[in-house]
C-alpha cells in the first residue's frame, strides 16, 4: 500500500486520503471575461511533471498541500496551507 505523509498525522496509507487537484490561482470573478473564467473552471495543465496539489486526510479532516511528481508518483514534500514551504 502506498504511504502518504500527512503534515499532522504522519505517514498513513493512501486509502485514507482524497485527491483535491492541482493548486490553481483563481482569477477575480468580477473582473474576468467569460472566456478566461471558462479557462479557469475547465482547463487543466494535463502535462506531467512536479505539481503542487491539494490533498485531504479523511480520518482527521485535514486539508494540506503536497508536491508530487505525476510521472513517478513520488510525493516530494507535504505541508499545511499557510505554513512556510518546507
Amino acid at each position: 500500500m502506498k504511504i502518504l505523509t500527512c503534515p499532522v498525522n504522519g505517514p498513513r496509507p493512501v486509502s485514507e486520503f482524497v485527491y483535491g487537484g492541482e493548486v490553481r490561482p483563481m482569477p477575480d470573478p468580477a473582473n474576468t471575461s467569460d472566456f478566461d473564467w471558462a479557462d479557469y473552471v475547465f482547463n487543466r495543465s494535463g502535462i506531467p511533471g512536479v505539481k503542487v496539489e491539494w490533498w485531504y486526510h479523511l480520518a482527521s479532516g485535514t486539508w494540506f498541500l503536497a508536491e508530487r511528481d505525476t510521472v513517478a508518483d513520488r510525493v516530494l514534500r507535504t505541508w499545511l496551507p499557510g505554513e512556510e514551504h518546507p
Binding site: 475547465f42 482547463n43 487543466r44 494535463g46 506531467p48 508518483d73
Partner: protein
Amino acid sequence: MPYQLLRFALSAKHPEAPMFRAPERLRDSYDAVIIGAGGHGLASAYYLARDHGMTRVAVLERGYIGGGNTGRNTTIIRSNYLTPEGVAFYDESVRLWQDLSQDFDLNLFYSTRGHFTLAHTDSAVRTMRWRAEVNKHLGVDSELVGPEAVKEAAPQIDLSCGGHAPILGALYHAPGAIARHDAVAWGYGRGASQRGVEIHQRTEVTGIDVQRGKVRGVQTSRGYVSTPRVLSAVAGFTPRVCHMVGLRTPLYIHPLQAMVTEPQKPWLDPILVSGSLHVYVSQSARGELVMGASLDPYELHSTRSTLDFTEGLAAHMLDMFPFLSHARVNRQWAGMADMTPDFAPIMGTTGVEGFYLDAGWGTWGFKATPVSGKTMSWTVANGRDHDLIKPFNLSRFSRYELTGEKGAASVGH
C-alpha cells in the same frame, strides 16, 4: 515431398503476406500525419484512404500498433447513452461494428452478449428506469428488468451480493457486445496499409511546427516531415501533444486498471456492470474473465499496476460470484485515460488550423473506434467538423456548452 505440401510452397498466396508494410524511411512530406497507431488513429487512416482517396498519409506511433488503450480496454461495446448526440454517435458505431469483420476479412470475434447494468438500491432502480425510458425515446434497445432476468442470464450470480448489496433490477441493453480489441487495430491497420498509408512504429513525434496559426509539419525522432494536417489520436498523451501546439484542454489523466483470470470453460454469457460494486465483467472468447473497475483516484501519467486494485476488484467479484474464490488472476495492467469534465470526447477542428483532435476518450473509447474513424477522416478531409461530432468540439467548454453524458458512465467515477 508430397505434392499436397509442395503446392503451398510454390503458391504465391503462401505464406500470407505480413499484415503491415514496414517502410524503411519517412518521406519528406505527407498530405496528413496521424499521431498514434491505436484503433482510432488507424481507423481514421483507413477511412481517409478508402472513403476520401487520401493515401499520402503517415501514421506515427512511438510504441507499437494497438499497444496503448486499444489493447488495454475491456472491449465492451454498447450504445445506451443519455443524450441525443451521444446516442446518435454510439448507435452509428454499433451499426458499423456489426459488419466490420466482413469489411476487413478478419475475424474480430464480435460477439453480441447483452449488457446488464445492475441496480443495488432503490435510487439506482429509479435511475435505470429513467435511462431505459430516455433510451427507448431515442430508439435504443434498452429496458428495465427484474432480478430474475439477471439470474436467468447468469445463473451463478449471488443476487444478494454477499448480503450487503442485493440486486433489485438492471438496465438491460440487448445489443451490448464484446470484440477482440487487438484485431480491430490490426484490421484497420492492414486495410490502411494495403491502400498506401504508411505506418511507422517506434517513431515518436517530438514537436509540431506551427506557423501563423497553421500546421506546417511535425518533428519526429526520425527527422522532420512537412504536412498541412495533423490528427492527434493519442489518448493519455493528448495533453503533451496539445502542449506542442499551445492548446489548453480540460483533459486530466488518471490510470484505469483491468485484469483477467486464467481461462475457464464458458459459463458467463452476458456482460455485467455494477456501479455500486465498481465492477464490469465479461468472459472473452478465450475463456478469461475480463474485469475492470473505476479509475485510480488521482492524476498519474503511468501504466503501473497496484495490489490495492486487485484486492478491491477481487473482493467485489466474490460478492457477485462466490464460487470464483479458487480462480487465479493471470494478468493485470493499466491504461492512461484522458478524462473530460462531461464524460464526452473532444473531437474535430481546433484553434490551430490543420490540427485535429480525437481525444477525451477516457474510459469509453473502444466502442467508438469505427465511428470515430469515419467522422474524423471526414473532418480531416473536408477541413470542418462532421455533423455527428459537432457537439464534441473543444470549443464547447469556453461556451459553457457541456454535454450531459455523465450519468451514462458505466461505473461511478
